[in-house]
């Protein structure tokens, strides 16, 4: 396989991002607002001056950016009330109070967020602003017609980084899918857990004791369950050859039927269909704690030499593994439930951690779909690792040479929060 496969996509985004961030800088043209009407300012308070209205970029055509000149004398002004109506209406009732801006805040706001008074795309509005004193008396400034209407955009320029990252991800996943489908042999590193699985089966055979395999407590929709059933097939095949008894209790009825099929198939493939015991795979109960009680009872009675707990587990992980370790069995666990992993690690002899479970199943199953997806995700992890490595180097350079190149790299992946 090509060695430099990580570098290509990584370089791609490195080059694309700065180009786009330059293109993104906004070029807004100031439209002078036309003066329509002038009211005599009340002698009480000074009133705001020119109102400027701009279209807001990256919206659905429902926002306007409104700013205004603050009055010369701000004494006694408590806040500004901003009113809007559709341009050309003469009705005084048509004025809507759309925003109240405290006097000490910048004289700018985005209009249109209020669901009661929405801005419609393509409609021309006019504004007027009043200075308000502490008693709530309003002193109106002149009316200004907006110099522009709000227009919706087709593409949101602030989301380019997400688009690039998403596109790259989709590309990589499908690239490896296609590659796997074409039958290309792809390297997966051997996973230490698989070795332990084989060894544990051997140990049980030597001792002539059964093997217990719990395929998790979740449904068939869980990725961990699917991975576990793949591994079960492989384990059962080995067991069929050695003729060791197998016990597979199930909590989910659908998982039970699938597990039964998998084991039967494995015995067939091993050439020992006669050795298959139909009672070895069975449905126990759907109740979580009752399931544990049942399995624990079996462990104490049958004393299996090896226990496998592979799949999705919740709080019961602790109870199963505790009893298993007391019965003196070798225990091998694997799950993607992060909160249960510490308990498995301290009670079992070997634990497949998180993604290792998926990888083990892909490794054993050799199904192109699974391997392709795993490779695609690996490639993405490679890119992330590349970025972090570069960031680390830049960080060191920053400290040593007192530069700021890390900020530049960080900006490349920073996507703004506000729409």
């Amino acid at each position: 396989m090509r060695k430099n496969w990580i570098v290509v996509p990584a370089l791609m985004i490195l080059l694309l991002l700065p180009a786009l961030s330059v293109a993104q800088s906004v070029d807004e043209i100031l439209t002078p607002a036309a003066e329509v009407q002038l009211e005599q300012p009340d002698p009480g308070l000074d009133v705001p001056g020119t109102i400027t209205v701009l279209d807001r970029k990256n919206d659905a055509g429902d926002l306007l950016v409104v700013s205004f000149e603050q009055p010369l004398y701000t004494d006694g002004i408590f806040a500004y009330n901003v009113y809007r109506r559709v341009a050309g209406e003469s009705d005084a009732e048509a004025w809507n109070l759309v925003e109240i801006i405290p006097a000490d805040e910048p004289p700018e706001f985005i209009d249109g967020y209020d669901p009661e008074y929405p801005i419609n795309s393509g409609v021309l509005y006019e504004y007027r602003i009043a200075s308000v004193n502490i008693d709530g008396e309003e002193f109106f400034g002149p009316v200004f017609e907006a110099g522009t209407v709000s227009v919706g955009e087709i593409y949101h320029t602030g989301k380019t980084r997400v688009l690039i990252a998403g596109g790259l991800f989709i590309f990589l996943i499908f690239y490896y899918f296609a590659k796997a489908q074409r039958g290309a042999k792809m390297y997966l590193r051997p996973i230490a857990g698989i070795e332990a699985i084989d060894e544990a089966i051997g140990r049980a055979t030597e001792m002539g004791k059964p093997i217990l395999y719990v395929p998790g407590l979740s449904s068939i929709a869980d990725v961990a369950t699917i991975a576990s059933l793949t591994i079960l097939g492989r384990v059962a095949k080995k067991i069929a050859v050695y003729q060791t008894p197998l016990i597979v209790p199930n909590r989910d009825p659908i998982v039970f039927t699938v597990a039964e099929e998998v084991v039967k198939q494995a015995y067939l493939e091993a050439g020992r269909p006669d050795a298959y015991d139909p009672d070895s795979v069975f449905f126990l109960t759907t109740s979580q704690f009752a399931f544990v009680a049942g399995v624990n009872g079996m462990m104490m009675r049958e004393k299996p030499a090896t226990n496998f707990y592979l799949g999705m587990f919740w709080a019961e992980s602790l109870l199963l593994a505790e009893t298993g370790s007391l019965s003196g069995a070798i225990q091998i666990a694997g799950t993607d439930a992060v909160t249960q992993l510490p308990f498995f690690i301290t009670t079992c002899d070997y634990t497949l951690i998180g993604e290792e479970l998926y990888a083990a199943s892909a490794y054993l199953g050799q199904e192109p779909k699974q391997i392709g997806a795993l490779k695609g995700q690996d490639a993405c992890k490679g890119i992330i690792m590349g970025f972090i490595t570069v960031a680390l180097i830049f960080g060191i350079i920053d400290v040593v040479a007192n530069t700021h190149i890390l900020d530049w790299l960080r900006d490349l992946v920073t996507s703004p929060i506000m729409e």
């Binding site: 989301k159 007391l326 690690i345 002899d349 992890k381």
Partner: protein, 214 residues
Amino acid sequence: MKRTVPLMIVMVGGILMMLQYFIPHQISQTVFAYYTDWTPIIVAFALVLGVGSLTRIHSHKIRRKAKNWQYSYAVLIPLFGMPILAHLWPESISGGMDSPSIFHFIFMHIQVPIQATMFSLLAFYIASAAFRAFRAKSALATVLLLAAVVVMLGQVPIGELLGRWLPETGLWILRYPNLAAKRAIMLGVGFGILATSLKIIFGVERNWLGGAGK
């Protein structure tokens, strides 16, 4: 009809919603508004699936007089009793001291204590496993247990009395090495979720079709 149409629905729906994120235009917003209006209605019906299978399992048990079949009534009676109570006295949904109702009583004084107690059983099991199963079998397991002990002492007031360094170290572990491990796992899980989404949207992963006839 049986396979192709659902796969099409998934693909069209998925791609549409993905693109919608990048398009601020009014049309895209309208599509999205319809989506947010409709989905809760559709998903509400999914509850029927769970209720249906519960009913099926337990009525089956009662009919066959399977082991412990009497307890199935303890599932079925509240399962249908609760909605009926709520329908007869709709104000009981809002609960509170002002309007005591059987519905609220069953929730507050049966459901809440049972569920809260169920999980607290684990405190006992952890204690027992601490003595009988948590082993420092290898260097890695030892590190895990040591970190756990420091964090456990650091989080409770008595840790403070044993030495200021305990809570400080506990917090340091949480803020730095723990963060590193969890972030790596989060990135891995994130990619896993994204890949699964893609597989479902583009019809590569079809497991969800299963269980409803071929």
